[in-house]
Amino acid sequence: MAKKNYAMTIDLQKCIGCAGCSVTCKNENNTDTGMNWMHFISNETGTFPNVKYEFMPTLCNHCDNAPCIKACPVTAMYKDENGLTLHDADKCIGCKACMASCPYGVISYNKNNPHEYWNQQEAWSELSATPKEIKDKVGTEVPYYNPERDYNYEAIRYRGIVEKCQLCDHRLARDEQPYCVERCPSEAMYVGDLNDPDDKIHQFLQLEHKTLKDELGTKPKVFYTRSF
């Protein structure tokens, strides 16, 4: 079977700027507060009534010429057979070379073990349970734990390593769209195979499109279509 080459399109005219993608990503990938594999840039310009608001979802661009892969001294960052730029948690030494070299700032470092909040023994009031009690009752590492992430990556990463968007490779492996795509209320996003001429992504790429910082030669694979 031919190798795939996954890429994403984000239709900026369909995007309503709800940041739902960012929230659902946290759900799917068990990321801690302050750590966003999927995030956004928002920019307000002008003065009322002549104002302009821009909103762009941002995530790892899964670059074809990924600087993080070149910078990682121990091959913890790698290209998989489907063109995804992935991180191997078991190999990462936490040197942060990938973070320093990524032009998009989409790699995060675990200074501490994530979700420490759920080990707290203090309750909000004497009527409520403590975070630790809730966690113990549910019986998972965090109450909203998604075990599916464990399929091919650490379900919850740990202190001393970096982490980043894997483009929900666990979902792509069973022919499902990444969770951010699936849950986008305006269906602004799509992940497809550039190697498959029948894939819908080629229709989306007929539209006017751009990538972020492509002048750096990183060959990013998140395409923003129909910008304003």
Partner: protein, 383 residues
């Protein structure tokens, strides 16, 4: 040989050991609590420890370059400094590598450098060359100590090549990052070699001067002459460094990036203009032009070291502040970072002081090419 610690040296040793202990506390704290004790963030991933490592590693390489070059290129004037320089290089580099190790999130996985290498990564090459280089330094020092001329001869060629390679590859880690104007470009690697020479000479000057000064009433003539010679060399290197900085500013002016504003008239302007340029390069150059004595050489060396610290701080930290989509962030050091940095520098002095008691660091090591039929013995009066 029995080590005697009396008077001033005893007090100095106690103070230094206290600082080293504080550094070890900082390291312990890091290992137990994790890097929450550091000021680095997802926006500024590399912190003061990387500045410290770059500063110390370059200094060590610089001293090795001087020691090896004096043998390879026949600078007989500096011959007697060779053994001291190589020992000092080890004394600086080993604590420096420990500082770097503290910034690794998973130090226990360092073996992956061997089992899972990425030959595209400058950081892998840096690790590999510094690993080999430390071994070469040890071999050279042992050869010097045991007066094995043959091994010493070949080792000095290899350590010279190793020092230049390791230093420029360390620069390469920064030089390949295309989106950071304060880092990117081949000139960064070359400037790292130049900074190494400058800081190496400065460090060697300071240690040599105080070693003799604290044990002798008057500085021996050859030491005086060597220090003045080193300061002249420093003068040339400073002039080149000024040229590098001028062109860095000019080329960055044309980019119009936030990084340029940061060092030109922004948050880091004082550190850059005042610390790295005025204090570290311009004033020392004027001092060397004005008067060339060993005291001036030592004063200049201190200034150059401060200047080069600021230079590396501005480069490493300042280079990370500009964010992908236009905003400029900030970074603050933490107490733990400083404890580890200062502890490492104190450890260098401790290792050196112990070395002066154990090894005869003042002896000339390269007598084989001298015309005199008998071996010239230089009295180990200094230590």
């Amino acid at each position: 040989m029995a080590m005697k610690w009396q008077g001033k040296s005893l007090i100095a040793m106690v103070i230094l050991l206290a600082i080293v202990a504080a550094g070890i506390f900082g390291m312990g704290n890091t290992l137990v609590q994790g890097q929450v004790v550091f000021g680095s963030t997802d926006q500024v991933p590399w912190n003061l420890l990387i500045v410290a490592y770059v500063f110390l590693a370059l200094m060590a390489s610089g001293m090795c370059m001087i020691a090896s070059a004096s043998h390879v290129l026949g600078f007989k004037k500096f011959d007697f400094l060779g053994k001291r320089a190589i020992y000092l290089a080890l004394a600086v580099l080993i604590p420096g590598l420990l500082v770097l190790a503290m910034d690794l999130g998973r130090l226990d996985r360092a073996y992956l450098f061997i089992t899972s290498p990425n030959l595209q990564a400058p950081m892998w090459w840096m690790g590999a060359t510094y690993g080999v280089y430390v071994v070469l330094l040890l071999v050279e020092f042992i050869a010097m100590h045991t007066k094995n001329e043959k091994v010493m001869h070949y080792a000095s060629y290899m350590t010279l090549a190793g020092a230049v390679a390791a230093t420029s590859i360390l620069g390469g880690i920064f030089a390949v990052v295309v989106q950071r104007p304060l880092w990117f470009g081949g000139a960064t690697s070359v400037f790292f070699v130049l900074s190494a020479l400058l800081t190496g000479i400065a460090c060697l000057t300071i240690f040599t001067y105080f070693t003799y000064k604290l044990s002798n009433k008057k500085l021996p003539e050859k030491v005086d002459a060597a220090l003045i010679g080193l300061s002249k060399l420093m003068g040339i290197l400073i002039a080149v460094a000024l040229g590098f900085n001028a062109w860095r500013l000019i080329t960055m002016f044309y980019t119009g990036t936030p990084d340029f504003a940061l060092i030109f008239n922004g948050e880091y302007a004082l550190m850059y203009w005042g610390g790295a340029l005025a204090l570290g390069l311009i004033i020392p150059l004027l001092m060397i032009i004005g008067k060339r004595t060993s005291v001036v050489a030592v004063a200049v060396s201190f200034l150059v070291l401060f200047g080069m610290y600021f230079d590396k701080y501005v480069t490493v930290i300042g280079g990370q502040l500009s964010q992908p989509y236009g905003e400029v962030t900030t970074y603050s050091t933490t107490v733990t970072e400083w404890l580890i940095f200062v502890g490492a520098m104190a450890a260098t002095v401790v290792i050196y002081m112990v070395g002066t008691k154990i090894f005869n660091l003042s002896e000339s090591t390269h007598e084989e090419k001298d015309k005199k039929p008998t071996k010239k013995k230089i009295q180990p009066s200094a230590v």
